[in-house]
């Protein structure tokens, strides 16, 4: 165990500084078994400090092992790129619809006789060569750019994003996010400053809702955001400078991602609209908001 710690600390020089500055409380190691841990001698087990958000200073409570298949994968920037592109593109809908000659009003009458007028031979004032005529080969919306990335790419993208965050020491694990004591924005600004969290922070928890100090701070500070585990995505992971996971969220993320990595069956499931139409159309039925009614 000790040798592994030392090995990890030697690799991560910024972790070395944090480890030396930590108190002697690292004896309470939060060891846990990793499911389907790779046996290869080339794989090293990444680790992270577990701390608490109750104090401004980063007081380490122990080390936790992370799964190498998720937090130490190959940094495939191209897979990340595919995920980010997909996330920004799949929801685009072009609603522009340029009217054709047939759809413009009028234009049924031949404006002038075919011959002997010296003018062009035309059949309708809405022909495309006319000013105020219809459009030929115009933009014909609604057009969608929707597509689904294969499951394997999306899973790998999440693993890559988490790996990048952990490798660059931008991933932090805390014991708890719920019902924190202090909700003062000044406290949270100082906390993020003292711990070198950067310009924006994303907190990820297992539960749907968050209450207590973090909720108050999140209302006051726009650069601080909270997300449930099921909302985790590549864009948010990369957008925020620092990602803070709770212990429950860490367990849940590993369980879900490993479950998908090792699942049986094809990884390129077909998502056809006709299969999901009913579900999508009923999605917002339970939502009630006075100012922002759901748009389906």
């Amino acid at each position: 165990m000790l040798s592994r710690q030392i090995r990890h600390l030697l690799i991560s020089n910024r972790a070395l500084s944090t480890a030396t500055s930590s108190t002697s409380g690292s004896s309470s190691d939060t060891q846990r078994p990793l499911w389907r841990k790779p046996e290869s001698p080339f794989v090293q087990i990444p680790q992270a400090w577990v701390s608490s958000l109750e104090t401004i200073e980063d007081q380490k409570q122990g080390l936790v092992d992370l799964h190498p298949d998720i937090f130490r994968t190959s940094p495939r920037i191209d897979i990340l790129h595919r995920n980010l592109t997909w996330q920004s593109v799949y929801r685009n809908v072009q609603m522009t619809k340029m009217l054709t000659k047939a759809e413009m009003p009028g234009g049924g009458r031949k404006p002038w006789p075919q011959k002997k007028t010296g003018r062009a031979h035309v059949g309708s004032i809405r022909a495309p060569q006319f000013i105020r005529g219809g459009f030929a080969n115009g933009v014909r919306g609604p057009r969608t750019w929707f597509y689904m990335l294969p499951d394997a790419v999306r899973i790998q993208g999440l693993c890559v994003a988490l790996t990048l965050k952990h490798t660059q020491d931008d991933l932090h694990i805390v014991d708890n996010l719920q019902n924190l004591q202090n909700g003062d924005p000044k406290f949270w600004i100082d906390l993020c400053e003292a711990r070198n969290y950067g310009y924006s922070v994303l907190f990820v928890d297992d539960a749907d809702t968050v209450s207590g100090g973090l909720a108050e701070a999140q209302q006051a500070l726009p650069w601080l955001n909270v997300m449930p585990v099921y909302g985790l995505n590549c864009f948010s992971l990369i957008k925020y400078d620092t990602v803070v996971l709770s212990r429950n969220a860490l367990d849940r993320i590993e369980e879900r991602l490993l479950g998908h990595i090792h699942r049986a069956g094809p990884m390129n499931k077909k998502y056809r609209y006709m299969d999901y139409k009913e579900k999508i159309l009923q999605e917002a039925e339970a939502e009630e908001h006075p100012h922002m009614p759901p748009v389906v």
Partner: protein, 297 residues
């Protein structure tokens, strides 16, 4: 540590560690990952004016190889008439070699300490069986018979004698068993079957043409006597020159049973995790009777 650093992944991660924080605009594709289509030059598409001209052009009829359009290949060589004569009636077995089986066990897809049957093999999602197109199950082939290490209890629909010997050499047990179309459909995808609320079917006895195979102890058929199988087992060990270890017998299925532990005629509720056996005498009588599968003789 030096070993860990030598891997390409660790070297890449070392670069990432030293780099500044990776932002959205840093993500990019690999060089050459996306290429635009090659522009057609004048030299292309010379056989027609446009692609459409090629597509709509008159083509020679199917089977034409040379000369007259009215003498295609199948008329020039009528000897091939019986080549696939039984294609619409013959049974197809999905080959499962011992190498594949060992690999599935190695990778953790199959538990060798549990009895293996069609449901186990199909649950790995590595095989597709469609009973409706006369795929009748698995054929255990002997590829990798020299070094098959697992004493498994496996039930397949067809097995070669060398594959049987290879499994028995390490203490395993092979049975060949017949599944009719309905029970194979249930066994291939039990979840879908149970969710539809269908009754677990009864395995019918094989059609006359297969009766001989499944009553032969050489094939370890499920219809023959246990004593005969033991005799054949010893015989094959003597002939092939290996000593028989003690047999691993994990569990036994009844002759008409599809799933281990679920009697035929019952309904399974996945929501309640319960099995409901029939109580009506008429239903019990129906599921007690032996029935022969006359669909494919």
């Amino acid at each position: 540590m030096s070993q860990a650093i030598r891997s390409a992944k660790e070297r890449a991660l070392q670069i990432v560690e030293k780099a500044s924080r990776i932002r959205i605009q840093d993500a990019r594709d690999n060089i050459g990952a996306r290429t635009t289509g090659r522009q057609l030059k004048k030299g292309h598409n010379q056989m027609g004016h446009t692609q459409g001209a090629l597509e709509r052009a008159a083509k020679p009829p199917l089977g034409w190889i040379w000369g007259d359009f009215f003498r295609p290949w199948q008329r020039m060589y009528p000897g091939e008439k019986l080549f696939n004569a039984d294609i619409n009636s013959r049974r197809e077995y999905i080959p499962l070699s011992l190498v594949e089986l060992a690999r599935l066990i190695d990778l953790g897809w199959i538990n060798p300490r549990q009895p293996i049957d069609v449901s186990t093999l199909c649950a790995t999602q590595k095989f597709q069986i469609n009973p409706k197109i006369r795929q009748c199950g698995f054929d255990l082939t002997d590829e990798g018979a020299d070094s098959f290490p697992y004493p498994v209890d496996i039930e397949v629909q067809y097995a070669t004698q060398s594959a049987i010997a290879a499994v028995e050499k390490v203490g395993g047990r092979v049975r060949t068993a017949y599944y009719d179309v309905e029970s194979l459909e249930a066994a291939v995808n039990p979840k879908a079957w149970f969710e539809k609320g269908r009754v677990v079917p009864k395995r019918k006895t094989p059609p006359p043409s297969l009766m001989e195979y499944y009553m032969d102890a050489k094939n370890r058929g499920y219809l023959c006597e246990e004593a005969e199988i033991l005799k054949e087992r010893q015989l094959s060990a003597d002939v092939r020159g290996y000593s028989l270890p003690a047999e691993v017998k994990l569990s036994d299925k009844a002759v008409d049973q599809v799933f281990h532990g679920i009697p035929s005629g019952s309904v399974v509720s996945l929501a309640d995790k319960k099995v409901f056996a029939p109580t009506n005498d008429l239903h019990r009588e129906y599921y007690k009777n032996q029935r022969s599968d006359k669909l494919y003789s």
